[in-house]
């Protein structure tokens, strides 16, 4: 029988942070996406019943940005991306690259539309 003072979780166990448990220890997504990439559910059932997966599928019935998904899941962005990669791999969601790019900075038409919209608010 183990004594009360026996340490079976030592430094080698690493930090016990739940997000890494969610991702089975992986820290890099396999699918490219950024903060504003849009996530949308395909309707194809996910083969597993991971609670985070189920939540994403529910959240993304209409397109939602990666950063908003992260906020709703209360998980760091990188952890969320790994999770989303898994869902792309099993076909439960698709990710649309965000249409934002540095070329917009000099896009006068876009800026004029944005200004017009802000003036109406």
């Amino acid at each position: 029988m183990a004594g009360d003072d026996e340490v079976w979780l030592d430094d080698e166990a690493g930090p016990l942070i739940r997000p890494y448990t969610v991702n089975s220890g992986r820290t890099r997504p396999t699918v490219e996406m950024d903060l504003l990439s849009l996530v949308v559910t395909t309707g194809k059932p996910s083969p597993d019943v991971d609670p985070e997966h189920v939540k994403v599928i529910g959240l993304c019935q209409t397109p939602l940005s990666v950063v908003e998904v992260a906020a709703h899941l209360r998980l760091p962005v990188m952890v969320t991306k790994v999770l989303l990669s898994d869902l792309v791999d099993c076909g439960a969601i698709v990710i649309w690259a965000s249409s934002t790019s540095s070329s917009h900075v000099t896009d006068r038409v876009l800026l004029e539309k944005l200004l017009d919209g802000l003036q109406r608010i």
Partner: protein, 193 residues
């Protein structure tokens, strides 16, 4: 349901709200966002920075930076504007390329009682070529400096707009956003001329 990508996808743009700790970034995001501001975090790995010894790991330290963001939809033009309040720990979010990549522009909020706290953000945007304006968040007990005095103190180029605002007031905050877009538009016109 099947979405037609070209019809459904809004153009998504982002603007950064930067500035020192406690200067009103979160308040500004809250005043302009159409949704209750959301909060999330990112894990930043700073390799061999030699600044903080956050863990017993020798070669790298990982820190969590929390940030707020909000959203404004421009339905007439199918544009969604995201407002990102940058995290307080400047030396870490500066290393987070994804946050600033592709940003349309930035608003540096300043408090005249602690102007020096704006320098880091100003340097960052200047170095990255991200256009910004300075919005002085007017606190009741702060001395009412003129914009030109603030410009001199911050050593800003003459074309960088400086405006006074009350980050708590939606009309005031929206006015700052419009001023930024007008500035970007003028700069884009000069660029393409």
């Amino acid at each position: 349901m099947v979405y037609n990508e070209s019809e459904m996808l809004a153009i998504q743009v982002k603007i950064l709200i930067a500035g020192g700790f406690g200067v009103g970034k979160t308040t500004f995001v809250g005043s302009t966002s159409e949704i209750e501001p959301l909060n999330t975090e990112e894990l930043i790995t700073a390799a061999s920075m030699g600044i903080d010894n956050l863990s017993r790991t020798v070669d790298k330290s990982t820190t969590t930076v929390a940030f707020d963001f909000g959203r404004l939809t421009i339905p007439q033009h199918n544009i969604v504007l995201y407002l990102f309040g940058t995290p307080g720990q400047e030396r870490f979010w500066f290393m987070w390329d994804e946050l600033s990549a592709g940003a349309l522009g930035a608003i540096v909020l300043a408090d005249t009682r602690r102007l020096q706290e704006s320098f880091a953000a100003i340097d960052f945007f200047e170095n990255r070529g991200i256009r910004f304006l300075v919005a002085v968040n007017v606190f009741d007990d702060a001395f009412p400096y003129e914009p030109d005095e603030v410009r001199a103190a911050l050593e800003l180029d003459s074309q960088v707009p400086i405006v006074l605002c009350d980050a708590r007031d939606r009309r005031s905050a929206m006015s700052v956003l419009r001023t930024l877009i007008q500035y970007l538009l003028a700069a884009a016109s000069a660029y393409s001329a």
